[in-house]
């Protein structure tokens, strides 16, 4: 089955590159390990949760930073949440961005925060894209009758 092999190779290359580029770290691999016969869609579920959660958080952040009097504590809380969920997923770059964001929150640097928010959004959509591609590849492999290779 050449197609399967090709797809699988594609998948592996892509996953490896994601890892190398820092989009996804070891944690993502751990998540993949948690997926088994009793929990076949675990990763998908978690990632979907992450997407929902993140988008909500990003909106909250935007709202919070647009306030007249910005409540940095609140902002920090959101970012904290974002950091937590992104690190749970293994979205490394997102997480790092959150760390930087929190620093600005502590300094009560509004400009810094706004800038961070932008970057955060950017990073988030990047990783979302990558993950969706990954899933698409996985689906294709499964549809082609192969098994998704396990990295690690």
């Amino acid at each position: 089955m050449e197609i399967v092999g090709q797809l699988q190779k594609q998948f592996v290359d892509f996953s490896t590159s994601l890892n190398h580029e820092g989009f996804l770290d070891e944690q993502y691999l751990q998540l993949q390990k948690l997926q088994d016969e009793s929990n076949p869609d675990f990763v998908c579920e978690v990632v979907s949760l992450f997407f929902d959660d993140s988008e909500k958080l990003l909106n909250n952040l935007a709202t919070a930073l647009q306030q007249q009097v910005v409540d940095f504590k609140q902002v920090d809380a959101h970012v904290h949440q974002f950091k937590g969920s992104s690190s749970s997923i293994g979205a490394q770059r997102v997480k790092n961005m959150c760390v930087a964001f929190r620093n600005f929150c502590e300094e009560k640097n509004l400009d810094g925060c706004l800038r961070c928010l932008q970057q955060l959004k950017h990073e988030y959509f990047l990783v979302k894209n990558k993950l969706e591609t990954l899933f698409r590849l996985e689906r294709q492999i499964v549809e082609a009758g192969g098994t998704v290779p396990v990295i690690g």
Binding site: E26, Q27, Q30, L31, K33, L34, D36, S38, N39, F42, E45, V46, L49, F50, D52, D53, D76, A77, H80, Q81, K83, G84, S85, S86, S87, S88, I89, G90
Partner: protein, 766 residues
């Protein structure tokens, strides 16, 4: 004038009448004179006569009467006045004496009469005494008969002989016509004629036991006269003569089973035999009281003898005497034993008290020693460790060759000292048994590999080969004290290396077979097999210097070194093998050395008891097989845990992680929910402490409060992405059992759970 007393005779003086009077007077006088003579004669003859005086008087009276009559003879003719005077005098005297005598007789005659009655009384008495003498004599005779009978009875203790002899002797003694014995049948409802005196073959008569005459006899211990026509007495053919009187008496029959010692002499028995005794017919004989008594006594004796017989089973009188002696001796010895036991008991009590005191003192001493040793160990350890540390540091600096040598020596000596101190502490704990093995499941194969890895460098330096041979039937995992087993193995192997200059050592491990378990030199070592244990046998063979046969026993003794300390590498570990022996003994095993002699190498063999890890059925307990690089298989199935995280992603990930490990996870997002949901069924609670909205510390406190009264509180573990040290401190302060840094890998979570369940806390809070 001469007065003549003769008066006018109305008729003519008859010559014949005168003659007759004359003769009569003469004879009267004669009689009167001879009576006193007779009296005197007879009184003189008798020995005792108290009334002599009376006789004299009486005599005088008679004499005078005689004299009077004599003198009267002269008055028939003419007589002179002198004769008349003499006559008168005599008459007067006679009158006096007669009156006196009459008076005296009044006194005497009652006395004489009473003498007569006394004589009669004495005669009666004599007759009575005679009679009594007769009775006593007969009684004595009876007694003699009884004694004889009992002697006869006792001389043979067989029941049949007893009874037959009894009948015989009774018949002979009492002169009976017939004597019969009726024995109760097995059913106890009838009496069977068993023995008779005259009839040679009893016809086998039976009578029912409920006859009134029989009941009458059985109800009393006395001999009872019964009618000769009653069924039990109709033993002889009816003759024309009157049958003699018949007497029946009960004879108690004893069985050993119904014999009770404290019922003696009241023999409690319900079985009686009937003995019937018949006097000869047509004799006037009647049963006398003493004869009845004899019969009763004999019947009683039979019972007693039966007891002797049944007790002894002996056949002769001497056995009876022996029995008596034995009984007395037994009683005496019992008394002696009792006294002895009382004394022993008192002694024991004293000893117990003393032992208790000694034990307490010993315990105190041991505790004091242990405290001392622990303190000393610690105190001595500190400077030694300082020395070692500093010497090692010194080694890293620039040193001249001589200085380096010196520092190396210092280091080596300090290390030695440190080891020795540890060994002493270990040994002391081993000796007083306060050392306890830490039993856990471990990988046996990897233990051997590790030991060999440690040894390989040294062996390589000495250019010795090291071989390991693990038998295929040796299971991979075992239950035991891994650390101590390794210590033993290291010690033995290290020794082997130490004392080998060329060649090498080979270590082989196998499961010991039952017959090979017994070391002929340790006959008191009895290993037993069971389903959850096996005996590991390890042989360490070296091609070294060997040991002299005589030195072998000393090898395992403390502080004894068979090799001189001159060798550079000899470590002077005098305690090493002693400790090994102690550990091996603690593991219920045995260690010994075999050597063919100096220069022939030696083999150390030890056998220790290890457990076989059982398959756990309980879902709550994990079965953990640790081991470097091994396939990790474990089961946490069904382990109930709670995860609290307000971040949905994080919550899902943690839950997924735990589910993957087999746990039964309850995920909550708020503190209240968490506290409410946690129950004693949950083994662990994972709290995310990086939550902003929830104070996880407060949750932890509340959970602890909820389980304050109960044991089996679930472990509380904090999950945090914060590497801040303060978090760890805060967690510990709040009483959490551990802190884990997020992100948590599968392996990490696995080891966390196993740590929690095995040790009850997290070994590392990374």
């Amino acid at each position: 004038m001469e007065y003549c007393n003769c008066f006018e005779s109305p008729w003519p003086a008859d010559e014949l009448l005168m003659k007759y009077q004359y003769v009569s007077d003469f004879f009267i006088a004669l009689a009167y004179f001879s009576i006193p003579l007779e009296i005197i004669y007879f009184v003189k003859k008798s020995a005792v006569f108290p009334y002599r005086w009376v006789l004299v008087q009486f005599g005088a009276f008679i004499v005078l009467c005689g004299a009077t009559h004599l003198i009267n003879l002269w008055t028939f003719t003419m007589h002179t006045r002198t004769v008349a005077v003499v006559m008168t005098t005599a008459k007067v005297l006679t009158a006096v004496v007669s009156c006196a005598t009459a008076l005296l007789l009044v006194h005497i005659i009652p006395d004489l009469l009473s003498v007569k009655t006394r004589e009669l009384f004495l005669k009666n008495k004599a007759a009575e005494l005679d009679r009594e003498m007769g009775l006593i004599r007969t009684q004595e005779e009876t007694g003699r008969h009884v004694r004889m009978l009992t002697h006869e009875i006792r001389s043979t203790l067989d029941r049949h002989t007893i009874l037959k002899t009894t009948l015989l002797e009774l018949g002979r003694t009492l002169g009976l016509e017939e004597c019969a014995l009726w024995m109760p049948t097995r059913t106890g409802l009838e009496l069977n004629l068993s023995y008779t005196l005259r009839h040679q073959n009893p016809v086998g008569l039976t009578v029912p036991i409920q006859l009134p005459v029989i009941n009458q006899v059985f109800n009393t211990s006395r001999a009872v006269k019964i009618s000769p026509i009653s069924p039990v007495a109709r033993l002889r053919p009816a003759g024309q003569y009157m049958p003699g009187e018949v007497v029946a008496v009960r004879v108690p029959l004893l069985h050993l089973s119904n014999f009770q010692i404290h019922d003696w002499p009241e023999l409690s028995t319900k079985r009686y035999a009937l003995m019937v005794l018949m006097l000869p017919s047509d004799s006037a004989r009647q049963w006398h009281v003493h004869e009845l008594e004899l019969v009763e006594v004999v019947a009683d004796q039979i019972a007693k003898v039966q007891w002797y017989a049944s007790l002894l089973g002996a056949q002769n009188l001497s056995s009876l005497l022996d029995l008596g002696f034995i009984l007395v001796a037994v009683a005496l010895s019992h008394a002696a034993i009792l006294e002895e036991s009382m004394r022993a008991r008192d002694l024991l009590m004293e000893q117990n008290v003393a032992l208790d005191l000694a034990r307490r003192e010993a315990e105190m001493a041991v505790r004091a020693r242990n405290d001392f040793l622990a303190v000393m160990n610690h105190e001595m350890g500190t400077p030694i460790h300082a020395t070692i540390a500093l010497s090692s540091l010194l080694q890293e600096t620039e040193l001249s060759p001589e200085q380096r040598l010196m520092v190396e020596t210092i280091l080596k000596s300090s290390n030695l000292l440190a080891t020795l101190i540890n060994d002493v502490l270990d040994l002391s704990r081993l000796e007083d048994g306060s050392l306890q093995l830490e039993i856990e499941t471990f990988n046996l194969h990897s233990l051997f590999r590790e030991v060999l890895n440690l040894i390989k460098p040294i062996a390589a330096v000495k250019k010795l080969y090291v071989m390991l041979n693990l038998s295929p039937d040796l299971i991979e995992h075992a239950v035991g004290d891994e650390k101590r087993l390794m210590q033993v193995l290291l010690n033995v192997v290290g020794n082997a290396i130490k004392f080998t200059k060329e060649g090498g050592i080979s270590v082989s491990a196998s499961v010991a077979k039952p017959d090979s378990l017994r070391d002929p030199r340790a006959p008191d070592f009895f290993p037993t097999h069971s389903d959850n244990h096996f005996y590991l046998r390890v042989e360490v063979k070296d091609t070294g210097s060997g040991i002299n046969q005589l030195e072998i026993p000393k090898v395992f003794m403390k502080f004894v070194q068979s090799q001189p300390l001159a060798a550079k590498n000899s470590g002077g570990r005098g305690l090493g093998l002693a400790i090994c022996k102690r550990f091996v003994n603690l593991m219920e095993g045995h260690i010994w050395i075999e050597s063919e002699g100096l220069g022939r190498g030696s083999t150390v063999i030890f056998i220790v008891k290890l457990g076989i890890p059982a398959h756990l059925n309980e879902s709550k307990l994990p079965v953990l097989h640790k081991g470097p690089g091994n396939q990790v298989k474990f089961i946490f199935s069904g382990l109930k845990v709670v995860v609290m995280d307000d971040n949905s992603v994080g919550r899902t990930v943690t839950k997924g992680l735990l589910v993957h490990l087999g746990c039964d996870v309850l995920a909550v997002s708020s503190g209240d929910e968490c506290v409410r949901a946690v129950s004693y069924e949950h083994k662990a609670v994972f709290l995310d402490v990086s939550m902003a909205a929830v104070d996880s510390f407060e949750v932890a406190v509340r959970i602890r409060e909820k389980f304050a009264k109960r044991s089996g509180r679930p472990f509380i573990v904090a999950l945090t992405g914060n590497t801040d040290r303060m978090i760890k401190e805060n967690c510990r302060k709040v009483g959490m059992d551990g802190v884990i840094l997020k992100p948590v890998s599968v392996d990490k979570m696995r080891s966390v759970l196993s740590d929690l369940l095995e040790h009850g806390y997290l070994v590392e809070s990374q």
